[in-house]
């Protein structure tokens, strides 16, 4: 469990010493289920800083939203650290303007599962490494923590921040690659009708609210492809072609840029699955190009690095 006192002390220190202009973390929300991303600019404000399993947002998202010239301190878990690296590779922030306070992560709890199992009137949620205890008017229930985690966190490969300036907390064991790869292969091995049926069923619930896009640290384009009228890449309304086009392309634009954080799925108000799409692309980046996004702040993703070595990789000339 995160050492809140130590986190607060460090946040206060970097503000006091002028190392950063703002520390991005979390504070309690108005509901026990929904802590909010928070921006601390002085030591007094830091008293509100918290960090727990219900903090469901990828804070790296805010790096492209804060003023460019600000020096930013940020509490980062494994995926957030890699997202930050990915943004540095894409020149969205300089490493020198960042102070990363690393927090090893035991996974983000899916609050909707809590509501599903314990009802919607939740007065308090307590966590330990193994249990989540939920207080409701009807009584107190405890649940297995791992089972309540968001799917992305259950299979997370990088739970520890890899390039933070300081890490506060004990390292957490990572998930292994085999089940992750297997999941992609299992989906691929289904017959084509089943694959399409799944994709269609998920995509057709879409309401084009773009919460997935706004929650994703890699989606920071000033003009998204859906905002274009000329060329008109795909329809902008909640039509079958439009909804499918949105999911296909948003996932595809994450090739080599996605850190499997799952913030997209957690933001979706219609419970649409999308990580099965990005996980396929992440899997291909690993298999074909030996690339994992965000492992450092220098390596460019595969679509930015073409080489003649590819010439024998794909189809040869003259007819296929």
């Amino acid at each position: 469990m995160p050492d809140i006192n130590a986190l607060r002390l460090e946040a206060k220190r970097v503000l006091r010493e002028g190392i950063v202009d703002v520390v991005v973390g979390f504070k309690p929300g108005d509901s026990p289920l929904h802590p909010q991303p928070a921006f601390f600019r002085n030591e007094d404000e830091v008293e509100e800083l918290i960090h727990n399993g219900l903090c469901k947002n990828n804070l790296a998202n805010y790096l492209t939203r804060l003023p460019k010239q600000e020096k930013v301190g940020m509490l980062v878990r494994g995926c957030e650290n890699r997202s930050v690296n990915s943004l540095i590779v894409e020149s969205q922030k300089e490493r020198d303007d960042l102070y990363l306070i690393g927090v090893p992560c035991e996974g983000i709890i899916d609050w909707r599962q809590i509501v599903e199992q314990a009802g919607e009137h939740i007065s308090l949620v307590e966590e330990s490494e193994t249990l989540v205890t939920v207080h409701t008017p009807a009584g107190v229930n405890s649940f297995n923590r791992f089972e309540l985690l968001h799917e992305s966190c259950q299979r997370c490969l990088y739970r520890n921040p890899i390039s933070a300036d300081i890490v506060i907390g004990d390292p957490v064991a990572n998930g292994s690659l085999d089940p992750v790869a297997q999941k992609v292969k299992d989906f691929e091995n289904q017959d084509i009708e089943a694959r399409y049926a799944f994709f269609q069923k998920e995509a057709e619930r879409c309401i084009r609210c773009y919460a997935c896009r706004e929650a994703c640290p890699s989606c920071y384009c000033a003009e998204c492809f859906v905002d274009h009228n000329a060329p008109r890449w795909t329809e902008s309304g909640a039509t079958p072609a439009g909804m499918q086009g949105w999911h296909i392309v948003r996932a595809f634009h994450q090739s080599g840029r996605c850190t499997s954080c799952g913030a997209c799925e957690r933001a979706c108000p219609m419970d649409i699955k999308m990580t099965y799409l990005t996980e396929k692309l992440n899997h291909d980046m690993r298999e074909k190009y030996n690339f994992e996004c965000g492992m450092d702040a220098e390596t460019k993703p595969p679509f930015q690095t073409v080489t003649l070595d590819d010439k024998n990789r794909f189809f040869l000339g003259g007819g296929n």
């Binding site: 929300g29 108005d30 509901s31 929904h34 802590p35 909010q36 991303p37 928070a38 921006f39 469901k56 947002n57 998202n61 805010y62 909707r112 509501v115 599903e116 919607e120 009137h121 939740i122 619930r205 309401i207 084009r208 609210c209 773009y210 919460a211 896009r213 706004e214 929650a215 003009e223 905002d227 009228n229 008109r232 329809e235 902008s236 309304g237 909640a238 039509t239 439009g242 957690r266 933001a267 108000p269 219609m270 419970d271």
Partner: protein
């Protein structure tokens, strides 16, 4: 007219309506409920105290609808407006009140939206009151309540093994022809349930002078503070039963002019062709959203543009809570000296 419908008779009642109407009722979709047409296999009413994820405004203002068909050669054709008669069963009072509020937008003296009007005309709305409070709703705060009757043709009260059926309009009457009148005892039971439910809804913020506080603090730093973590997605607006903004776009590739749901929370919503954007950041856009609902609606029709359904609170991806934002607004001073 107050009648009794035993719950056991409900499936047959729903099926009998299907001969003439398409019956929409909340049905399970993934982890939530959604208004979908009843097919025979699903003649069950969902036992849940709260409302659907997507509000039933979607049945009157669809997420996407074609307005005009056109061809490359310059010919036009109005969209086909055949709407078959429908019953919406199980609308919560907050959502029904919201649809009625939207009537003031789409059915004005000078301008009427034929698509909205047609759908309203062809729809009978049967409401279901909320006998237990939902987690984040605040209907009583904004002047309504869990058994509010506005916008409904019929209101049902859950009495345990039957429903009290309060018929509120002529079209509602035609649907419930063979039911018995409610006894004095059941009427009292219903009254008690309704009053208890009303009292159980917590008051989330003070509405008195809220509009003035909002109006007079246009330039306050408050707007920046409350919107810091806002992502600018469309969840709150699309799930809101009173939001009605739409975008009209020519889908040239399929030769239709289409109206889609839009949201003031997107940057491009107010982006003008010149490149100027009067609401350039989340600060202005959040100010717009709160002001529209709790100040400008009052200016225009004298009612708050929010019915307290609570969806924006439950589903905001960053946990922003409009109730807390308004409590904070109430703590702002009345008159601010504008140091220009």
């Amino acid at each position: 007219m107050k009648l009794i419908l035993p719950k056991n008779d409900l499936p047959d009642q729903l099926r009998s309506w299907r001969k003439e109407f398409t019956v929409y009722l909340p049905q399970k979709l993934e982890r939530f409920s959604h208004f979908m047409p009843l097919d025979d296999a699903n003649a069950r009413i969902l036992e849940q105290p709260h409302n659907t994820r997507i509000p039933p405004k979607a049945l009157f203002l669809p997420m996407t609808e074609a307005l005009v068909k056109f061809t490359r050669f310059g010919t036009y054709e109005d969209a086909n407006m055949e709407i078959s008669p429908r019953i919406v069963f199980g609308m919560r009072p907050c959502d029904a009140q919201a649809v009625q509020l939207l009537d003031t937008v789409f059915e004005q003296e000078q301008y009427t939206d034929p698509f909205w009007v047609k759908r309203q005309e062809k729809t009978i709305k049967i409401g279901l009151g909320c006998h237990v409070p939902c987690a984040n709703g605040f209907c009583t705060t904004v002047g309504y309540g869990p058994f509010n009757k506005d916008g409904l043709d019929v209101l049902l009260t859950d009495l345990g093994d039957s429903f009290l059926v309060e018929v509120l309009s002529e079209s509602g009457k035609t649907l419930f022809e063979n039911l018995h009148e409610a006894s004095e005892e059941l009427l009292n039971q219903a009254k008690e349930i309704q009053n208890k439910a009303h009292d159980a809804m917590p008051i989330a913020f003070e509405t008195e002078n809220l509009k003035e506080k909002i109006d007079q603090n246009f330039k306050s730093d408050y707007w920046d503070e409350v919107s810091r973590s806002c992502l600018g997605c469309g969840v709150c607006t699309f799930l809101c039963p009173t939001c009605f903004c739409f975008d009209i776009v020519d889908e040239v590739q399929r030769q239709e002019r289409v109206r889609n749901w839009d949201t003031c929370m997107f940057r491009i919503y107010s982006l003008e062709a010149s490149g100027h954007n009067p609401r350039p950041s989340r600060v202005e856009r959040t100010r717009q959203r709160l002001s529209h609902k709790y100040a400008y609606w009052l200016d225009q029709i004298g009612l708050i543009g929010c019915t307290g359904c609570g969806r924006c609170v439950s589903y905001c991806p960053v946990g922003l809570d409009i109730r807390a934002m308004l409590r904070q607004a109430q703590s702002l001073p009345f008159e601010v000296s504008h140091a220009e």
